[in-house]
Amino acid sequence: MTQRLLEVEHLQFRYGTSPDAPAALEDVTFGVDKGEFVSIVGPSGSGKTTLLRCIAGLQHPTRGDVRLNGEQVTDVPQELAIVFQDYGRSLFPWMKVRENVDMPLRHMGLPRAERRERIESALEEVGLTDAVEKYPWQLSGGMQQRVAIARAVAYRPQILLMDEPFASVDAQTRADLQDMALEVWQAHESTVLFVTHDIDESVYLSGRVIVLSQPPATVAAEIPVDLSRPRDQIETKASREFVEQRAEVARLIRRPSGEPRVATEAGATEVERR
C-alpha cells in the first residue's frame, strides 16, 4: 500500500500582489508517494525552480497548498532537504568536507557517535571517503556536488528535492552522479523529487515524469516510466522503451496541452538543439 507523502494542490505563484502580476506558476497539482523517484521537466523559464522553492517552504505561493505528510508547509519542514544546482555557492568554503556534512546534524541533538557514523557512511555512499579533511574548493565540481548530496543524505530527510543538480557538470560526471543518486535513493528507500530540463535524465532516473507547460506553468502531463530497475547508462538508454518514452516527453514539451505551435516556438527550438 503506497502512502502519499507530498501533495501539491492548485499552486499558483505571481511576482507581486496585484491580480495582473506576471505568474510563474498558474495552477500546478500533483502528488508524490513515499518511495517514488519523480522528475519535473519543463522548458526553461517554466517556473521549475519556483515550484521547488514553494514546495520547500522557501517561497510562499500566491494561491494553493503544499502538504507534506498531510501537514501544510509554511516554513522549511524538518523532513525535507534540498540539493541546489549551484554547489559552488551552497557549500561553506571555510568548512572542510566533514564540517559541511556535519553542519545540519549539529542541531538535531544526535549523540556524537551517531553523527560521526552518519557523516562517514554518507561520504562513503557518495565515494568521498578520502576527501573528508579537504576544503570544498580543493575538489572538482562533480565532487563538490557529491559533498552537497552527502550532506543531504546524512540529514536523512523523508523527501529530497534536487534542483537541476547535475546541470553544470560535464557529461561523463553527470552520468556517474545520476547512477550515484539512484543508488542512494534505493539504499535509503527515500523519496526524491528531481527537477531538470534534461529529458534523457528525467526518463532515465524516474518512475514518473511530470511535464510542465510553457509559462505560466500547469501540469501538461504525467508520464509513468516503465523501465526496469536497476538501470544502466548504456543498456537502458539503448533500449526501445527508453527511446519511445523520451520521445513522448519531448513531444509534450514541444507542444504542451495542444497549445498553438507559435506559442511554443522558443521552447521547441531549445529541445531540438539537444
Binding site: 520547500a56 522557501l58 522549511v76 524538518q78 525535507l80 532537504a81 534540498i82 541546489f84 549551484d86 555557492r89 551552497s90 561553506f92 568554503p93 571555510w94 568548512m95 553542519m103 545540519p104 549539529r106 542541531h107 576544503y135 574548493w137 580543493q138 550532506r151 540529514y155
Partner: protein, 275 residues
Amino acid sequence: MSFANADAAIRPRLAGIGGWLGGVALRLSVLAALVLAWQVVTMLVDDPVSWPTFTDVAARFWDKWATDPDAWLRSLVPSMARLLGGWLGAVAVGIVVGTLIGLSARAREYVNPIVQFLRAIPPPALLPLFIVMLGIGDTMKATMILFGVVWPILLNTVDGVSSVEPLLRETGRVYRIGFRDELLRIILPSAAPKIFAGLRVSLAIAVILMVISEMVATVNGVGFELVQAQRSFRSLDVWATIVLLGIIGYTLNSILAAVEGVVLSWHRGAMGTRS
C-alpha cells in the same frame, strides 16, 4: 624571488628552507644598503643635530628605549594600553554595531548618512571637545582612538554581513540551523575577510591617533616623549622615538597579519583556486 626559485630548482629537497633563507637574505640586503646610504650621506653632511648618523640614532635608541625598562614602564606601557584599549573597544563596537546594521536593509538606509557624516570628521579636530567632556586622562585618549578607528571596522562589517551569498543563508534555513548558528557559523565567517581588512586599516590609524592624543595633553607616553625631546632640542631622542613608533606599528601589523593568516587560511586557498 628569482634567487629562491633558482635555488629550488637545483636542490629540491632543501628548496623550502633554502628558498626562504634566500628570500630573507635578499630583503635584508636591501635594508642594509639603505642604512649604509644613510650612514654615508649623514657622515658627509656632518651636521649631527639636524642630520644624525645611523649609528648615533641606533646607539640612542639602544640606550633610551631598548635597554631601559624604566622607559618602558613610563612611556610604552601607558601608550600601548591606550592604543589597545581604544582599538579593541572599536573592534567590539564596530563588529557588533556593524553586524546589526548589516543584517537589516532598513537600518542601513537610516544609519548610512549619519555614519558617513561622523566618519568624515577628522578625529584630531574632536580633541578639544573630548578634553572638555572627558578630561585629559586615559579615558579621553582611548575614546578618541576608538572614535577615530571604529569607522573602517564598522563599514567593512556592514559590507561583509550584508553581502553574504544568499544561497549559503538559504542552505542554513533548509537545514533549520537557527539564527544563532546562522550568525556565528555562516554570516560572520563569510564576512570575516572584509572585517579583517577593516581591522588592518584601523590598527594603522590607531597608532597615529595614539601619538597625536599624547602630544596634546598628557604627562607620559611615547607621544609625550616625542614632544618633550623636540621642545628641548634633543634631536637624537626624537629620532630614537620615531624608530620606536615604526617598530610598534610594524609589530602590531605583523601580529594581526599572523592572526589573519590562521583565521582566514581557507579564504586564501579559495581565492587561489577561483579562476
